[in-house]
Assembly symmetry: C5
């Protein structure tokens, strides 16, 4: 649910708490000019220094926090504020955009779907400096390959000609667009549920609806603050984001709002399904009870009649009449038919729309 890597209460600001699950850092650099693209995989943090003085644009992507020394070295090289580095490493942080003197810290959250139906989110932190874009990811693997590919093949395209802020836009755009297929999957699941709830409302369905509600809460918690961060970047003047890129961010902002809209709608629908489910339980109970009542109401009086004539009184003239037995059978038959007819008129028998097999 919620596992924050947080330092012990009272620890020094800037204390890093690295998750055991986080793999050792892998550093990849894309260095590109409008004319050329070079890609490097770096072992030694020191060798990053030369990219900072290069003319080319540089995207440094760090995946995995498994080695505090490396992370600290990167932090020092790029002059990150201790609190900024803490925000990057001690995940999850709430998505936000915060301007420091020499760079912009932008914390976002990337979502992926593992198996059909389980949401996984991962923090992606961007540090946007004057001549570099630095991204941090907790785990290997991301949704950014199409962006890398666009850099590789994008000669003459804005992505090669524009600044680092455009690159940051491309990253956030890919991350936010990654929420759409997830919403679609959930939408399909809910449509299945709406059908199933009619045909076969069993208790596992309830669990699944609860699961969806939970995932929707997680999604909202992931996207809502990103909307705020984007809004802040669009409104506030900030030297690291140019006017032109702001137009593009407005587009991402619209997507965020749309995602939140859909999430809210799904939450309300899930709540509605819960109501439908609860009342379908009530309906089934009615049905069970009707079967019991019909069976008992027909046979209990009949058994009573049979009981009467099973008594051993000496003086029971009916017992000795030749017509006693067939007459009683006729009466019993009449009572049975009468009760059946009575329940039919009450609508408890047959004609029930929801269960045509009865």
């Amino acid at each position: 649910m919620f596992r924050k890597k947080h330092p012990k209460a009272g620890a020094r600001p800037g204390t890093l708490v690295i998750s055991h699950a986080s793999p050792p850092p892998v550093i990849r650099v894309m260095e590109y000019t409008p004319e050329s693209v070079k890609e490097h995989e770096i072992d030694d943090v020191e060798s990053l220094r030369r990219f900072l003085q290069a003319d080319a644009k540089v995207w440094i992507d760090v995946q995995g926090f498994g080695d505090e020394k490396v992370i600290r070295a990167i932090g020092e090289l790029f002059g990150l504020h201790p609190l900024a580095l803490e925000d990057v490493v001690n995940v999850p942080q709430r998505p936000k955009a915060e301007a420091y003197d020499k760079h912009l810290l932008w914390i976002t959250r990337m979502a992926t779907m593992v198996d059909h139906g389980t949401l996984q989110t991962e923090q992606v932190s961007m540090v946007l400096g004057a001549n570099y874009l630095l991204t941090f990811q907790e785990m290997y693997g991301d949704v950014l390959d199409p962006v890398r590919e666009r850099i590789r093949v994008g000669k003459g395209r804005p992505i090669r000609n524009s600044g680092h802020d455009y690159l940051a836009y491309a990253v956030i755009d890919a991350i936010i667009d990654g929420y759409y297929p997830i919403l679609e999957t959930f939408g399909e699941t809910m449509e299945e549920f709406e059908n199933e709830i009619v045909d076969n409302p069993d208790s596992s369905l309830l669990q699944k609806i609860h699961h969806i509600k939970r995932e929707m809460l997680a999604l909202r918690r992931a996207v809502w603050p990103q909307r705020e961060a984007l809004n802040k970047l669009i409104r506030d003047e900030c030297e690291f984001v140019t006017e032109n890129v702001r137009t593009y961010l407005r587009d991402v902002y619209d997507h965020c709002i749309q995602i939140i809209d859909v999430v809210e709608t799904y939450r309300e629908l899930a709540g509605g399904l819960m109501d439908v489910y609860l009342s379908s339980i009530g309906n089934r109970q009615n049905e069970v009870m009707k079967v019991l009542t019909i069976m008992a109401s027909i046979f209990i009086p009949l058994t009573f009649l049979a009981g009467i004539y099973g008594m051993n009184f000496d003086n029971m003239p009916e017992l000795h009449s030749a017509w006693g037995y067939p007459m009683l059978l006729t009466i019993m038959f009449a009572v049975g038919v009468g009760m059946t007819f009575y329940f039919k008129r009450k609508g408890w028998l047959g004609g029930q729309r929801s269960r045509p097999e009865e």
Copy 2:
């Protein structure tokens, strides 16, 4: 539920994703001056160019996105920003009004009712330039024919004498007014439900109420952002909308608010109906249980009595008394009447308002 035509995450901004369901584009032009009206159906995008230089007012209506080349050509001819074109084609977008340098992009949502009770919405995008109004619709067919007719017959009327912004107003007004008959249909349906829920609360009703709640969510999602877009156009200075037309937009804005009010009211009423339905299930259960309890409580003790005198003990003096049998029958009758009377006093028998036939 929610099927957005969105490019793959990480795709270049401006990537168009055209729905397979969208038919090939049909382009219709209405060219009109206060004195005359001409209507054209255009095959070749290039031939649109001359309308841009004409003195007459021009309404270019594009229905269907089925051919990306045509759409891109239109985008280039009118100088649409790649993001604007993306918003037009990759439906659904959230309704909004966005000012670009040379035009205003205004995304709205048109609703129609297919069969009695199912809502269908379609995105209508307007591009309002200095000397044209360009509208895009995903599908053929719309609610704008009365506007076209008003242009044709409206000699001397404001619609012929005013600018393109007035035309855009006429379009949005027709779209928003198109929500009223839909609300009325839903209102009638809900009144039917309120009556049915008394007479015949079955489980299909629950499904229908859930359906209405869902449609109300869809309606709210369609109208709410249109209200925001209108508000923005009314408040913010914007060269494409004149002061005079703003007064008219205020009227459309009021209609939007009224629609949202009604939608919210319907949602709350639907929620209330759900409660009524749930408790009517509980009431029915009580009724079934009462029948069972009454039958069992009357006949089980009687059957016990019969069982007593069905025993084969040698020494049961009552069995040999001449009065044993009639006496027992009398006792049984008394017990039966007593129980019936007891249940009557408890109010479980007869006098039940909701089921007078019992």
Copy 3:
């Protein structure tokens, strides 16, 4: 529920749609100076013109829209904007106050109670010009007679000495104060319900609570926007309302807020009653079930015992013992008493507060 007289979607702004229920217009004029009052009933719209040039204050009250020509003539005489006239006639509009060049359009909603418990609301539109107050009502009859009476007898009173804005205040004050007795009626009804729900929770009560919730929604929808309109008139400078009258409007505004407060409280109470009702159904079910369980649990074992000794085995020594029968009866009695005692200890028998007659 919601029946708006709206023109067909796409119709020209200013199209009037007159309800068939609306009677032919009756025009009454009150012309008064501090010294004198004259009342006229007008047949011909043209003859209204002279009042506009009079020195006296003039209140023109139009009841009924049944004749479009008359309404249009009035609109032209007073120079009403087409949209303003549309708002007046195509009811219901959302209450609002809108300033035009030459007059203020103020749409309010008047509520009355028809039979005990059903709310009826009617739109009252005021047009406040420099030298007249013009009111429109859909139907004959209103709550304004006390205002008329105050004008008649109010020599030396503010109502005769102040301007048209004070008269408009008197009208809105009467309309808003008309909501108080309605709230009181609903409050009494709800207190009755709170008592009834203890003594006799039947399903018709549920219907009535649902009805109240619905009326509360209608009330809120009527009053809430009036609050906004009043607030706008109090805050915004507007030439048609003087500073002095604004103090009075503040008072009406407070009443609006109080009404909304009470409506919200009633809605929450109605929701709470629904919960009480639902759980009282559950309690009754428990009670029914207890009766069944007690009856069955006592008599089923006894019947089984009787069944045993009704068997026809040759070798059943108990049957032939002289003490068999009385012994069995004693055992049966003991079992019966034991079960009763057990249920008493469980608290299922007697001592139940809610049903002392058992």
Copy 4:
């Protein structure tokens, strides 16, 4: 619930409607200087006039509205606006602070607890003029005696040395602090409920929870607007309240917020208790049903077996076997034990935490 003393709709502003329950006015004056305190009980309104010209500070406290003439005389003497006087007398008004030319009208609401558990609120209106504080109370008796005592004994204390605004602060502080013991009482009641709901969830508890929810609504309605009024006095410059006293009002404001916080928390807890109650009903129902099912499931098959051998067929060899009877008894015993064991494994028998006596 809600009984407002309101004039008939359309009545003249300033019309007073005096509750029949309100006793005749009693006027008490405290006249104090830093050195001395004098207390007077006044019969004749005219004699109040001299206090207005005195150098001493004056607190005039009017309890009871039972005589309109007296109230009107006071209103005229102190130059109250007709609307102000109406707000004072036609209770309940929404708490508010309103600045008039010559005085500040401050309407508050005082709460007391009558019997254990029923809340009673009363309007206290303060008129704060340049050289007097005038308070109006609907009924005799209040929570202000400690304030009076502080004036009497407070030589050298701020209450004697400061202005009338400090006195008004002391009054409002006493009124707001009077809510704390009420909240504590409700808190204790709710704790009792939380315990009782486990041990003995009966239907009277539900009524009591509903009662608490209702009282919480009343409390919120009483305190929420007082918060607004205080906020207005703290923010807005107003000649009647000095900077120094504003610091003290900030403290009262904090108390208001805390009270609202607690009220909201109690409301949510009461809602939670309702849920617990509803599900405890469901649990009890399960329990009752289990007893029934166990009894029926054990004895019905046994009774059937007994029924078999009670039949009178000529050809039933078991009947004539010497072992038939003991064998059947053994089988019956085995079936009974088997069923019991089955239900035990299902967890329906014994080991139930909530009812250890079974």
Copy 5:
């Protein structure tokens, strides 16, 4: 729930009400310069005076309010406003930050977990003056030991070199970070509940969910106003907090928001679990009822058949047929199998996911 130490209504502002539970005050002073640290335990308030004139930084920590004289002496020594001292002692106050002339009063709330699952909060008040930080705690023991340790060992670290505002930041940071492990504990508990609710939904679980909801309300009530206080300190200029420290407070603020986010999420999840629980009760009821219905429906008709042939009519030819008995047994068997098959087809028997042992 809510036990405020509040003076009697109407008491003088500044009246202190000391909880009987509060131990006698223990005063500890940390005096430190970049070079050295000294710690003192003080008995006599007067001896605090010399620290105020020292060059070193001073943190005075007062734990326990058990002696009003000591508290008042401290208040006088540091020149605390009577209302400030009241806020410090009369706990609980709503967390807030309030600037006085000579110091900043900052009321926060510290949370700890006692036994697994019960939240305890305690008010910590900070008075931040020009040359001291004064903290008050109601009880002995806190979460601040790591901060003290950082001072002791932090030579050359910011905590020794920065001002008192940095120290105050370290304190609030430790307090807020102390909420994280609490959230984690609750998160784990809720995960346990989610599993348990499937396997073993009993009524104690409901109590626990209610308990969690209650604790979440308490947490929100503790953290929400701290967020406001932090926001105020970050936005408003205030001489006691430097720009540099504000950056750090922004970080604490983010943590506050994250905590509130998680608390809200947990509340919604707890609400969802309540729904799951309620419907699982319904499901169990269905199950119980099915067992009853199946047993009754199979055996009641069979018993009836046995009853028929237990009758004593003279004229019952079946009784005397050699095949009567075996035939009847066959019929009975067929009926039993038929009913079983019928219930199997209805899905009431076997194949039930949630109870595989049946």
